[in-house]
């Protein structure tokens, strides 16, 4: 039996190790990923075991990291690039949206870029500026990228495996506040499709969608709501591009109500796309407008204010109440 209880950080580390073992073309690269094992220790021990040639400390230049990862992919490698924190991905934004996302199309399919960009994202860790952002919408709008975010250790392990195997570029958002949360990981299991949403708690009164760090909050909200006699169906979206609208539709046709929770600012966030499309698909089923709860239209605040800024349990429940009030 390969099932084991482990933290998400460990699951990611095991998944990277597995990939490095199974495919000599897989590379890990980024700032401090070598001897230090990354600032979150996700790459701990990998350079020791696979060498400096495969686990590569890079100069401190994010555009350079992604740009050279593209070049390595053109040469037949499968680079997994780490961006140290969400707020440091922007210097690489041009390489990601203009080159990584578009080169397959530019070549009419002749070039494939199997590059994974790992980004620890989200807040709740009491950090200084730029260390707590949720930029997924800024990538989801861009065709040519796939965007996923695991919500638990098992998904972290398997979704990373699948992202590495994928022939398209994948932005892999890791909920850093959940790195040390533990869960069962069955490394011998057979994972479902990478881009499928999952009902992580069935319910009947309202569908609550979350991904990454907010899945835990959503589950807690469902427990709390149950005490109040309300049955929430919690869906872990898992993939932000593409979005599994079929699963959402199926759920909303049943519950008639939908709330979307994410840490990113609500304005132009993933919730907007979910709301727009589900409203179109379920117009006659919805008994309330799709409501969104998430970050405010403000830069991510200093640590002492992040509880106010983030969609915590109370704000999620208040939003659920509002949706139920229709």
């Amino acid at each position: 039996m390969a099932a084991e209880r482990m933290a998400m950080a460990k699951a990611l580390n095991s998944s990277l190790r597995k990939a490095l073992e199974s495919d000599p073309k897989v590379l890990v690269m980024g700032e401090d990923v070598g001897k230090l094992g990354g600032v979150f220790r996700i790459t701990d021990g990998l350079q020791k075991d696979f060498g400096e040639d495969r686990v590569i400390d890079t100069p401190l230049a994010e555009s350079g990291i992604i740009g050279t990862a593209i070049g390595l992919a053109l040469r037949g490698y499968r680079p997994i690039a780490e961006i140290q924190f969400d707020g440091f991905v922007y210097p690489a934004y041009d390489q990601i949206v203009t080159q990584l996302a578009k080169m397959h199309a530019r070549s009419l399919g002749k070039v494939k870029l199997p590059v994974v960009v790992r980004i620890p994202f989200g807040g709740g860790i009491g950090a200084v500026e730029h260390h707590s952002e949720s930029p997924e919408a800024l990538f989801a709008h861009v065709a040519g990228l796939k965007i996923v975010a695991p919500g638990n250790p098992a998904d972290a392990y398997w979704m990373l495996q699948q992202a590495i195997e994928c022939d398209d570029p994948v932005i892999f958002f890791e909920p850093k506040a959940r790195y040390w949360d533990k869960g069962e990981v069955d490394t011998a299991g057979i994972p479902g499709p990478l881009h499928a949403a999952k009902v992580v708690r069935p319910g009947t009164d309202l569908t609550l969608v979350a991904y990454g760090p907010t899945v835990k909050t959503a589950l807690a909200a469902a427990v709390a709501a149950e005490e109040d006699g309300v049955s929430l169906e919690v869906i872990d979206l898992r993939s932000v591009s593409p979005i599994d609208f079929d699963t959402l539709q199926w759920s909303v046709e049943k519950t008639g109500r939908l709330v979307v929770a994410h840490e990113a600012p609500v304005f132009f966030g993933a919730g907007a796309e979910v709301a727009a499309r589900i409203t179109e698909r379920c117009f006659y089923h919805l008994q309330a407008p799709v409501l969104r709860v998430g970050g405010f239209h403000a830069p991510y605040p200093p640590a002492r204010l992040e509880e106010e800024y983030l969609p915590g349990l109370d704000r999620v429940l208040e939003c659920v109440d509002r949706a139920l009030a229709y």
Binding site: T58, G67, S241
Partner: protein
Amino acid sequence: MTVERTAPRAKPRRAATKKTTTAAARKRPPRPEMVQLLTPEGERVEHPDYALETTPGQLRGLYRDMVLTRRFDAEATALERGGERGRGPSLRGQEAAEIGSGRAVRDVDYVFPTSGEHGVAWCRGVEPTLLLGMFRGVNHGGWDPNSNNFHLYTIVIGSQALHATGYAMGVAKDGSDSAVVAYFGDGASSQGDVAEAFTFAAVYNAPVVFFCQNNQWAISEPTERQSRVPLYQRAAGYGFPGVRVDGNDVLAVLAVTRAAAEHVRTGQGPMLVEAYTYRMGAHTTSDDPTRYRRDEELEVWEAKDPILRLRRCLEREDAADEAFFADLERESDTMARRVREAIRTMPDPDGMAIFEHTYADGHTLVDEERAGYAAYLAGFADHGAGHGHEGV
């Protein structure tokens, strides 16, 4: 191989071009800032670091490459003027830089162009008409880079320097002795990506030749808007050699690029070549150089024309006869016809092509949009020409 490094200087010093040289002087000429092996008058000169043996056949080959490249470029530009869509840069004046460097590398080497190196593409054996698709607006490139080890054109300036560096890091990992060449312009040298490429290439000792075509202009901006010292000097600060070559001298470019490729493939890390040349035409068909540069400048550079220069050399060395030039003109005309024909018959892509190739492994949203658009089109088929209001 040694490469000169000099202190920064406000104005680039021009290499002296002597009309007559004694044998002794030819043996040990002063090391000029810019490598030149052929004067504008078509006379051979020597350089202490770069020697080049050539046969008459090779000289004729280089001449043919340049003439056909110029013709191809002229033809493509004329078609645009004639109302064809798209805008492509003109390379007129830069044939020596492209052909010299393009012929310096081997098949196993890998080239990352910027967006107009038709001459290099020609040397790599890329079918010329393939290059026209993107300027005709039927695709964004679309050739297979691995067929000729010639990457797609990259329009966002400087980006490809990093791709080339990453590719070269891979070459080094593979233990291969391929050299990688990254082309970019004087304007592009200001982009952070080019600097980061220098850093990565130096730190990883990547086998990449950075080939900067300094054609004096970035659209309307002179090179002084990008740097107050010669661009080749930038390399030293990153820990690798840089050299300036007369970019209108196909022999010098060939010799220098060959040496640079040898330098990188023998594990000595990257090298920068600055080809000092001139963009004789407008930047694109919608550009108007009279707004920012003076006719006299063009005249000065016309005297240094790379094709004229090699023709003088061919004549001086009796390396080509009338028949050669006549044949070449015919070949050139034929090629021009072929280009016009190819453009004229280039089919428009099918509308549904929008939904191809965004992803290699598929994406449900694309599937949904493809189906939706097909249904939309089918609606027209059912009901005639729809509202019939197209054209805004």
